[in-house]
Symmetry: C4
Subunit: 230 residues, 4 copies
């Protein structure tokens, strides 16, 4: 998968692409910091605003070794446009999400342990704490099992998130995909997903749980999305 010289980053998007390469390096550093990834697993991408392009992690490169120049620019069919590295094995799936969801500016994928444990059982995480209502607006749903390589995973992600407020989906037998208006928002969702997956797992070990009432979930989600923050 080498760059096709017929496709290139248009000059008008050059500055933004360079900025995203650096920004993605910083965001990838958040994944090990929050204990979401092991060795080279996990990846984050960002859409290049106004272009049919995305920037994504290279395949199988250690987090310690990631430099901005390693990030790969692809078109929204997942073909490499610019990059000295082969892109993530999940590139076609990220690309599918960007094609299907114009509101999405960033995608993250991890095998974070507690969320992946729910995914292994194919069980949605029930919305039993306010932190889940805030960020996910309800349960974190489960998507279908899909093989890596093509865009099957991306199709499963998009189909599952349709009709949910959650920016996170647990792909059955696999791990977590999250979306956001920006790559940073997608990483935040991945971090929060693991946090609530852990808390709810621990809670349930001690006894049965009850979902928060729907009107409370609605009120909390509305406030967190519209009032919280600066």
């Amino acid at each position: 998968m080498t760059a096709d010289t017929a496709r290139a980053v248009p000059e008008e998007h050059r500055a933004e692409v360079e900025r995203l390469r650096e920004h993605l390096c910083d965001l990838h550093a958040d994944l090990p910091r929050w204990n979401l990834v092991t060795w080279t697993s996990g990846n984050v991408s960002a859409r290049v605003p106004g272009a049919d392009l995305m920037v994504i992690k290279p395949s199988g490169v250690s987090y310690d070794d990631l430099a901005p120049a390693d990030m790969v620019v692809c078109d929204l069919d997942g073909r490499v446009v610019e990059g000295r590295r082969a892109p993530s094995s999940d590139t076609s799936s990220h690309a599918h999400v960007y094609r299907a969801r114009p509101d999405v500016g960033g995608v993250a994928h991890t095998h974070s342990p507690y969320a992946t444990a729910w995914a292994a059982r194919g069980e949605a995480i029930p919305c039993v704490i306010t932190a889940m209502a805030d960020e996910f607006g309800g349960d974190i749903p489960v998507g279908p099992f899909a093989l890596i390589g093509g865009d099957d995973i991306g199709r499963g992600v998009v189909a599952t998130l349709d009709g949910h407020r959650s920016p996170a989906v647990l792909m059955r037998g696999h791990g977590v995909f999250t979306v956001g208006a920006s790559a940073r928002a997608a990483v935040k969702a991945a971090v929060m997903c693991e946090d609530v997956a852990r808390t709810v797992h621990i809670a349930r070990q001690g006894g049965p749980l009850e979902r928060l009432p729907q009107e409370h979930i609605d009120a909390l989600h509305d406030r967190y999305q519209n009032v919280y923050g600066q």
Copy 2:
């Protein structure tokens, strides 16, 4: 929520306010260090001694980015007196605690995972180890479910702690609030609350537990509060 120029920090409290801004920055750094917070969750406030003022974390700001100048000064009705940032969403609840409890000089709030797991089930942590007797003087009680935004949470915190020696309360379906004579004492209680929540959770996974006898709890608490330390 911008500062009302009609309300301002009186000159006599200026030095203390500046000291508390710095001190709160240091204390907030303790929260991720002890694994009590995820992303921007959690907050600490301090009463300004001798004034009807408190200093509190801004809303939704990353721990990495917190500087003393970001801390927000509010009155004890939760209105901003000085600050370039919007204050924590929990400001009205912190303010309520300071109004109702003149002995309280600091308040902390986290969603630390093991304590929040007990809160999700609405189950008090039983006092089965000496470290709990030392710091909490008995069980860590559960307060009511309450929505964020107003002072409902603060009212629940105050009502629940009444009649308990514990400086920590598990707010049902939400997380932990702690109080202390100082902000540092409140943070210490939050750190210890997560520690005992984890230990007692693990202990109970292996079999049934027995509370320490009340006279031992009393003796341990008295000693820790009055003899321990420098």
Copy 3:
């Protein structure tokens, strides 16, 4: 508890006392590093070889703030001989161990979470993995519940370890005490105790366990104590 000028560190032990103050600072830094302590909990002491003296952590001082000059020199009745700080609340118990066990050169105490969970249930950790046979030579036993302050804890530690190869004891409802030929060996035992407490806890969550056969435990312990290392 200030130093009695009638008791003082004899000049012949001065150099060793200063060395132990520094050494204990380094060893205390191992406790948070291995996640054995929370806030100010936990303490380590060392016997001054050839003297009826020990050096111990001051009471209730943060690990970040510990300097060699903070360490307190006590006699083996637990009375302060030299120090600007009040000694650990566990001083009398450490002193009892040194009086009763001339082979012991160091004592450590923690509330490390997995080991304390076994202690909360009053359940010995069964010797089901080779790492336990190596370091502990069998089960890690449970000692009686005892109140802090006097030497009751120390008496329980000594009585329980009598007849066991284990350098660690789980004090019921409290936490871990370990002994060693040196303070470093005691800290090592505390680190290993938490490690095996965690592994055996996790193992048992998945199903029943069987103790290693006694002849294998004996062979492993003998080899680790006499052949392993430099």
Copy 4:
């Protein structure tokens, strides 16, 4: 166990041996970083390509104190060829693996907690998530209980891995051994083994699990081994 001057590192392998000493230092630093080892437990070795030699960690030396010069060069009967330290207690077993498996260039051994918990029960880790299919190509198998010192452990490792795609084996009642084309690949397998041991343990706490279908395991393993990465 001092070096036999009759055996020495041939001059033609000198540069590679020095490179491996440094490389092994770096790889050993990965073990505590990924929380696989406690105190001095765990070890990694590398075959010297084209020679009947291996380089291995010294016995019982702290990870903080490991320098390239501490690494020990042994022949493939486990006898020291060059080194100022006694080699790991597992040296004979590493040597056996290199003798029996010419394709193996590196061996790693840990007592990482979740994997050792499966080993304590003598239970294989079932292949229920794609990350396991990727790296291990199926279940992670269990090998026999064997005593340390001779090459019994090595024989058990080789016999168990025969007929499995997994580069990791859980030695009953003991811990993890992994092999790889290089020492780095063996360390990667040890890191991934603990990661999946933890995730599958957590998953099963919440309910029964199903293995991935064999054709999916085959497809994932083939892709990860042959397409993934640079």
